[in-house]
């Protein structure tokens, strides 16, 4: 288990350090959304080339207020509204990156990134390869995604599978306030294009995180980027829940309930969908021999499918039961009044765990 436990995020490292310094964690609670705002602001501070643009990200601060205050602080040249056209935003980002800038673009909602799909797949993802690395595109594409907020149609898609299937894109899906900060900083620092998935239902979730300490921790060259690193979010011995983004809190809640029922569930927070951390995930599953993959997106040909495929490839002889999935149905995301039927729930996860052939 040490190999797994060793995989600390810079966030955890920093959080640890804060706690160590004064004995307890004294940081004030900060929301996931504000951690993102701080990450943008700090990145803009530390690099003049970072520019933020998209629809309503200027004076309004974005419909989720993630870019709140950036135009005020950095001026209209660094954080600005564009005409309403997503391919336009993405294509302009490609050109600005070609000419030395580091664009961070916001797609207002998951489904409204689709007009930019050609730009993303045919250029953002492929330019580095096409030019043998001569053109780098350090672009971050921020996408508020997934459900749980009672949004109307087109506002709740879990679109990650489209991006992870596209070679050339790094795809990050943070699930904690600390990761919101550090992974967005990592994304902006990356010389590769990053699709940065923000679980919109978590924008208002809070955690006692000292963002300043995280900022300082990032400067330590010993603390590596979180890109490509999963973390064990909770130790456990009977089965492994593998989740990312909005499903991580659900998985943790399921593990809580299971614990009260005498079953010890380990939870892995994948965090980085591409590159994928096979080492951490496989090591975790080998310790328990049972696994359930949890994700909100429709299951068919999804990130969850991939995780199941990889785990069975790597852990076949450690597995006591097939790897199960608790995923979105293969249906469009439902209307608000039906979404509770759709979303992976604690009960559904526990049902899947019950199904892991414990009698065998």
């Amino acid at each position: 288990m040490t190999s797994v436990a060793d995989q600390q995020t810079p966030a955890q490292a920093a959080a640890g350090r804060v706690a160590d310094d004064d004995g307890t964690t004294t940081a004030a609670p900060v929301t996931f959304g504000k951690a993102l705002t701080a990450a943008l602001s700090d990145a803009m501070d530390s690099d003049e080339g970072v520019v933020v643009f998209g629809e309503d990200v200027g004076p309004l601060g974005g419909v989720f207020r993630i870019t709140d205050g950036l135009t005020d602080r950095f001026g209209e040249q660094r954080c600005f509204d564009t005409p309403l056209a997503e391919a336009g935003i993405m294509g302009m980002a490609v050109g600005m990156a070609m000419n030395g800038m580091r664009p961070v673009v916001e797609m207002q909602f998951d489904a409204f990134a689709y007009p930019a799909f050609e730009q993303v797949v045919s250029h953002v993802a492929k330019m580095h390869n096409r030019t043998k690395g001569k053109v780098k595109l350090p672009i971050v594409i921020r996408i508020p995604y997934a459900g749980g907020i009672g949004g109307v149609e087109h506002h709740c898609d879990s679109s990650e599978s489209y991006y992870v299937h596209t070679p050339g894109l790094t795809v990050l899906a943070p699930a904690t306030v600390a990761d919101a900060y550090t992974m967005l900083r990592d994304a902006i620092d990356s010389d590769d294009p990053v699709v940065f998935l923000e679980p919109k239902k978590m924008y208002w979730s809070k955690d006692a995180v000292d963002l300043k300490a995280l900022e300082t921790a990032r400067r330590d060259p010993e603390v590596a980027s979180g890109i490509g690193k999963a973390v064990v979010a909770r130790e456990g011995t009977d089965a492994t829940l593998i989740a990312y983004g909005p499903s991580v809190p659900t998985a943790l809640a399921a593990a809580d309930v299971a614990a009260s029922e005498g079953r010890s569930l380990q939870v892995v927070d994948v965090r980085s969908l591409v590159p994928f951390d096979d080492e951490t995930v496989a090591a975790a599953v080998r310790t328990t021999g049972r696994a359930v993959v949890i994700a909100e997106a429709p299951g068919f040909a999804s990130v969850a499918s991939e995780i199941v495929a990889r785990v069975q490839e790597r852990c076949f002889h450690s597995l006591a039961a097939p790897v199960r999935r608790v995923v979105g149905f293969d249906t469009p995301f439902p209307a608000p009044k039906l979404e509770h039927y759709y979303l992976p729930s604690v009960d559904r996860i526990l049902d899947a765990v019950d199904d892991l052939q414990w009698e065998d």
Partner: protein, 375 residues
């Protein structure tokens, strides 16, 4: 070049460029505008009956906007993008159509949809969150209210194209906002419509904002109607708060389409008096003073003044119109106050004409889960 070619080209240009200022038939003071003969011939004043019918719908439209706002505040509806201030456009977009015609509305065009006699409670299914759409688009020839911006304009072109191929006498009005005009689909729709010469009227409600983004960040063209010539169709602009003007300009464009004259782009200058939706806070990006400037241009006030002055609108008629509006508001209240139950099986039923084996499995799993929970 020969001067005759130059003249010809100038003439064809002139026919596609919009009027130098937005067409207006009744001004802000409720007085008929004395237009030049050419304009007056092209855009005649609607008959008093037509204006009265439209005014009735205008009053109901305003009432629907107010009522919906109240229902949102009471938690009966999740979200409502109000067309308060734009009701003249809403009403005219529906009234310019005949039974065989089609309407392609956006999320903001609830009043237009209702004006085409779709049941108000069915319209609200979307905004209440019961399902993604509540009425039958085929029966009413009203497409679902489109959220992905500008996408519906292409659907409208398709419906018109099929109508043309089938020899139907239908015209399609396709609505969108100023912001949506920046999307690639807007461009492709107008071009397809022009190339296939199909009966579509593109109706842009330029309400000056796309959520927080003002028109000046959306376009620096002389007007949005100036885009039309780039597709080879006429563009026109109209005072969108002048019900008579919008009715007339749309009416002319619809007639032209029906007569085989092809598509037209109409831009209405209007203003979104309220926030983008209840979830938005317009004070973050515009001043009260700006909003206040638009208040006197209100489409209802001016229409009422005009019709009253013309002695067409009597106190009695006004009362009856008010009653109509209240009836619709009551229907809305009743409809949204009664709880609807949703059926989890519906999740799987309509993804395909027949559920796939996979969906049947998933439905069974959910049913099993719910039965164990005793739901």
């Amino acid at each position: 070049m020969s001067s005759s070619t130059a003249e010809e080209s100038a003439r064809s240009e002139a026919a596609m460029l919009p009027s130098p200022t937005p067409v207006q038939l009744i001004n802000e003071r409720g007085v008929a505008v004395d237009n030049d003969t050419e304009t007056a011939a092209k855009y005649p004043m609607p008959s008093p009956e037509a204006l009265m019918r439209a005014y009735d719908k205008l009053v109901t439209g305003r009432r629907v906007n107010d009522q919906a706002g109240a229902l949102v505040r009471q938690g009966k509806m999740a979200v409502y993008p109000s067309s308060h201030g734009q009701e003249a456009c809403q009403v005219a977009a529906a009234l310019c159509l005949d039974a065989q015609d089609w309407l392609f509305p956006t999320y903001r065009d609830t009043v237009a949809v209702m004006t085409r006699d779709v049941d108000p409670v069915e319209v609200m299914v979307l905004l209440r969150g019961d399902w993604h759409s509540g009425y039958d688009p085929i029966e009413h020839k009203v497409a679902t209210q489109s959220t992905p911006l500008a996408t519906q304009l292409l659907h409208a072109v398709g419906v018109a194209h099929a109508a043309k191929l089938k020899g139907e006498d239908s015209v399609v009005v396709a609505m969108c906002g100023d912001g949506a005009s920046s999307e690639g689909d807007f461009h492709e729709a107008l071009n397809f419509a022009a190339v296939f010469h199909v009966p579509v009227v593109f109706f842009v409600q330029n309400n000056q904002y796309a959520i927080s983004v003002p028109l000046s960040h959306q376009s620096v063209a002389p007007s949005l109607a100036h885009k039309a010539i780039g597709y080879g169709m006429p563009g026109e602009r109209v005072d969108g708060n002048d019900l008579a003007g919008v009715l007339s300009v749309l009416g002319t464009a619809v007639q032209r389409a029906r007569d085989g004259g092809g598509p037209t782009l109409v831009e209405a200058h209007t203003y979104r008096m309220q926030s983008h939706t209840n979830a938005d806070d317009a004070t973050r990006y515009r001043t009260d003073a700006e909003v206040a400037e638009w208040a006197p241009k209100d489409p209802l006030v001016r229409m009422k003044k005009y019709l009253t002055d013309a002695a067409v609108l009597t106190d009695e008629a006004e009362a009856a119109i008010g009653d109509d509006a209240e009836r619709v508001a009551a229907t809305l209240r009743d409809g949204l106050n009664s709880e609807v139950s949703v059926d989890p099986d519906d999740l799987f039923k309509y993804v395909y004409s027949e559920p796939t084996p996979q969906l049947n499995e998933q439905a069974a799993m959910l049913r099993d889960e719910l039965s164990r929970e005793g739901e």
